[in-house]
Amino acid sequence: MEVTIIAETTGDALHPVTAQLVGAACSMGGAPTVICPGGIGTSEASTISGVVKVISAEGDCFGTFDSGAWADALSPLCEGVVMTSSSAHGREVLAQIAAIRDIPIVQDATGLESGIKVTRPIYSGKAIETSVVSPPCAISIRQNAFESPGSDGSSDISTVNNSSDIGVAVKEALAKASERLDVGEADIIISGGRGMGDPSNFSHLYEIADIVGAAVGASRAAVDTWDEIPHDMQVGQTGKTVNPSLYIAVGISGAIQHLAGMRSSKYIVAINKDADAPIFGVADYGIVSTWEEALPSLKEEFGKL
């Protein structure tokens, strides 16, 4: 079964989800070709085990993100099952490639079986959908849901120059307010809710995050209440859906929308002074305590690791 993977890049390198895409393709019996938009990460892609060939897709249009132009330039190179990451960019490009090629599309798969049987969370994880789709089709996968293969490959790299007209002009790029790790990328997340009392108290969360290399997240209540807490920190149904190895919820009661965004985390620790808070219902380890008492101790214990 032919599979075409559109590589996900970050800066001038491949994003780890690219190797996971190869793993997902191989797990359902696919033989993947990896296309690198803008020629980014081609040599790295050629070393991913299981990759049949790598195409360096070069063209002026890849200098700016315009999903329509990218889809126009990439679509002629696609065969069989077209796959991307279910990142914002991945979904947008894939939806347009599917429309151009008139093939069915399933986004954000967390499980794939040959057939092709696709499993994906719906209602932000409040339910799971299983559906069946046949090649040719388009499937995006969720980051960290599939294993990466090894890196002992050595596939050929060919270059294709295929640009398309750009309709989007970037007038100004505004850097993130902080260089901190993004909650969507982190393996450990420590999140604060309105129970933190004041946005300045998030400094305690940042101190702990720095010790263990975690990202700091927030509940919707915290983001909506305090201007200092930006929306890109929000975990939950109208924020980011995350699945880190460890999620620490501090002063978060556990509204259904928040639980939907973080319940698939591998381990969940909840710190809340209210023993009846719904967050304890999903926590592997619950600590009934105020954050004022628990966080200094948590910082000390993490410091000893």
């Binding site: 490009v93 347009q96 986004q107 993130k176 993490f302």
Partner: protein, 252 residues
Amino acid sequence: MTIAVLLKQVPDTTAKITVSGGRVDESAVGKWSMSPYDEYALEYALQLKESGGGDLVAITCGPARASKMLTDAAAVGADSLVHVVSDDSGIDSSNTQSLLASAVQRIGAEVVLCGKQAADTNAGSTGPGVASILGFTCVGMVSEVSAEGGGFVAMRTSPSGNEKVSVSKPCLFTFDKAATEMRRPNVRGIMMAKKKAVETLTPADLGVTIDSPRVTLESHSAPAEKPPGQKFEGAESVPTVVSKLRDEANVI
């Protein structure tokens, strides 16, 4: 200028989702609402109309119950309401895109706004797919948009932060959480909306043939239940929990 906003009615985000007989039980949904990201799209569509004039048409594709949501859109200022009646269970994403694209074409809109994804299916295919079918430029993950010199300026999320981009008509914007929440209707708006006609269209009216879905739904299921966790009293338990994270869970 005609502005189109694509809206979807979904179970309210506070609603509990139950599964019975391998399907999400829609009859158990207590409250249906406009999908949250679509609310942002509607707010900015209203702002575009207010700043540059034009007709704002709210379009939905969905079963009969979705009509109420269009009335909600009229209550905050949508001028015309178009309901493409379809049975959600019998169509896939490609079908929905074709129907909405035809509806946009029918009203002659040159700018389309919608949410980045619906709160039920969480897919995010509709907006970009509609843009592709229509040949409109697609700008995703937008948090603000305004008219400027015959075109538009939008703020969008990028992997490294935010980008201010400019784009010409015809174009489509998909909204992430935006800078401004959707306005609330006033009493006059609510009263006027009740009298507003909803134009109901079938796929045949739009000249779209609905083939059998190419994505076949096999089943819905409830998410795997987690085994009950361990609960500890007081901050003095923190060292115990940290050692469990290290030795039991192996995550730190």
